[in-house]
Symmetry: C2
Subunit: 376 residues, 2 copies
Amino acid sequence: MIGERLARLALSQLGEPGDLRLTGLVAELGADLVHARILAGHNPQGLRDEMATRLEGIDPARDLDRAARQGIRWLVPGDAEWPAGLSDLDSSEPLQGMGRAPLGLWVRGPLRLDALPPPVAVVGSRSATTYGTGVASELGAGLARAGCTVVSGAAYGIDQAAHRGALAGAGPTVAVLACGVDRAYPRAHQALLDHLAQQGAVVSELAPGCAPTRPRFLARNRLIAAMSRGTVVVEAAVRSGALNTASWTARLNRPLMGVPGPVTSAPSEGVHELIRSGAATLVTRVDDVLELTGAMGEHLSEPLRAPTTSRDRLTASQRRVLEAVPLARPAPSDSIARTAGLGLVPVRSALEGLSRRGLVEQLPTGWRLAETADEG
Amino acid sequence: MIGERLARLALSQLGEPGDLRLTGLVAELGADLVHARILAGHNPQGLRDEMATRLEGIDPARDLDRAARQGIRWLVPGDAEWPAGLSDLDSSEPLQGMGRAPLGLWVRGPLRLDALPPPVAVVGSRSATTYGTGVASELGAGLARAGCTVVSGAAYGIDQAAHRGALAGAGPTVAVLACGVDRAYPRAHQALLDHLAQQGAVVSELAPGCAPTRPRFLARNRLIAAMSRGTVVVEAAVRSGALNTASWTARLNRPLMGVPGPVTSAPSEGVHELIRSGAATLVTRVDDVLELTGAMGEHLSEPLRAPTTSRDRLTASQRRVLEAVPLARPAPSDSIARTAGLGLVPVRSALEGLSRRGLVEQLPTGWRLAETADEG
């Protein structure tokens, strides 16, 4: 028996991320016992015998040492730093045969995962438009300035823009990877990932050195959703990995948000579908996200208000006269007085006041609304 | 006593559109009696005595004649052509002190209002963007081709684009005005309105010759909403007349729809707020609108489907192998076999099949996913 911590480390290298059978066994029996039984050749649930051989080749204490020398730590449930949100995965329905909280997490970087300022995921297409990356980077920066942590996947496009925005906003940001935290995927993001590892955190359930595969991306997406209070999808075409993160967010009953875009833009189609179907709430600005995720305590969006116009400061009789002034063909003041149901003298005085405010104009044949007046 | 038809025509020139008191009296007593009583100086509800004088100056039979010579007809409730949807206004809450069905409608143009193909309102900002007018005109054309009537207000911007789109799609379109149907407001739309009067219909509750005023626009908006099965808002800034039409649509319990746009575009802000608050449903294409308005009977949107990819046609073992192939650093086939949990021979054969389909590539050091493969 080697203890839960090392047993989880060893077992995590046996199965693929999101493997339900192995995590199910660990939940039932404890990692130490599962580890010992597999090594002993016991095979209570039909796990392949090959596993014993593979497990013998894994030296978790050596792996832990080696990682520590690279500045990489290993977290397991029960550790003070273990992110609380992950446990919701254990009570959620699997998706595409994957699910449950990971056996442990590898972390590189100074941010403590248990003390993150409110984490919000910002995800989207790798093939993003300049509109999308602009919005994601603004959103990342705004969330950072509002005191949130930006969580994403360090991919091309939206992910990258969200991380960079958070860094520009001098806020914490966390990348969750589908490969080891010592690797850069895509390779072009080596500098970004190094930067995140110095200032934020880079997280993975895969051991250092592991390569990304397609199912590992899907498994990774559940961690992005579960580590965050809510997920914002910025651009996502109809078949996009970001929609998988969206599904996990919905499955975890966390707020799912979508930023709309032009209906003529394919990368916005998936987001529009999420909003149309009611799965996601439309958001356009940082305050919307803060309100929905409760990331600022009782934060409430200020309702959008149009600027106060000169019309808002009129007297009651000026307003009444204004409503009787025609828009196009000028009318004489007696006709306006008749429409307004007011005497000629107060109407003339009101018209002059309105004219000073630039709301009406006098022409040779009478009065009409000034060009700039809004017809409502 | 002059009969309901002429009495309504006369009374409609006494009050402003949407006047609750006058229409309330008519609903209670009938137009003919209200007309007779006002003329006789009876003033049961505090209507001003000045009204008797004004009413004496109105000759409804002459007005009807004159309009008929201009090709303008006068409809009242009970006429076969009276649009059924208007009566819902009588059971709806007033908005900004206005409401109820109009006393009658002036109509110019060949379309019969009782036989309109499913009418759908398309409205939005006068100060629209090229994105907005492009979307409105596509939508107008698409609705026309799908067999709907496009209803709008003939204003600059979105309205104009929607009408023009419908004409381009060779479909019927109806303009509801805030002035007499013989007038062109804005003047620049004279040709458009003449065209609509020849091919579609131009409608107003204001008598020929009447000028547009601000409250007449608000009253007009309730008719656009009530004559249509649902309303699509394309672009609307926070203080926009189109949001008033939106409020009427919601008040009438008709489907309210909004087309999103870039969050960086002020004219889309009002629409985004409608969607965010749940007042409007996000729509991106004609089929969404048809589905929500039931404009094609049991019309149902086809769910958006991504095109079938070569990945969809793989065998189970090819799929399993593909999922074990790394994305970046190549892996030798024995390592892939281990990850996939399959023997070396079937793995090699699967890799070759995948390679022929362009999904994986072989490098000197092993296999990896081809550049074009989507990581999901």
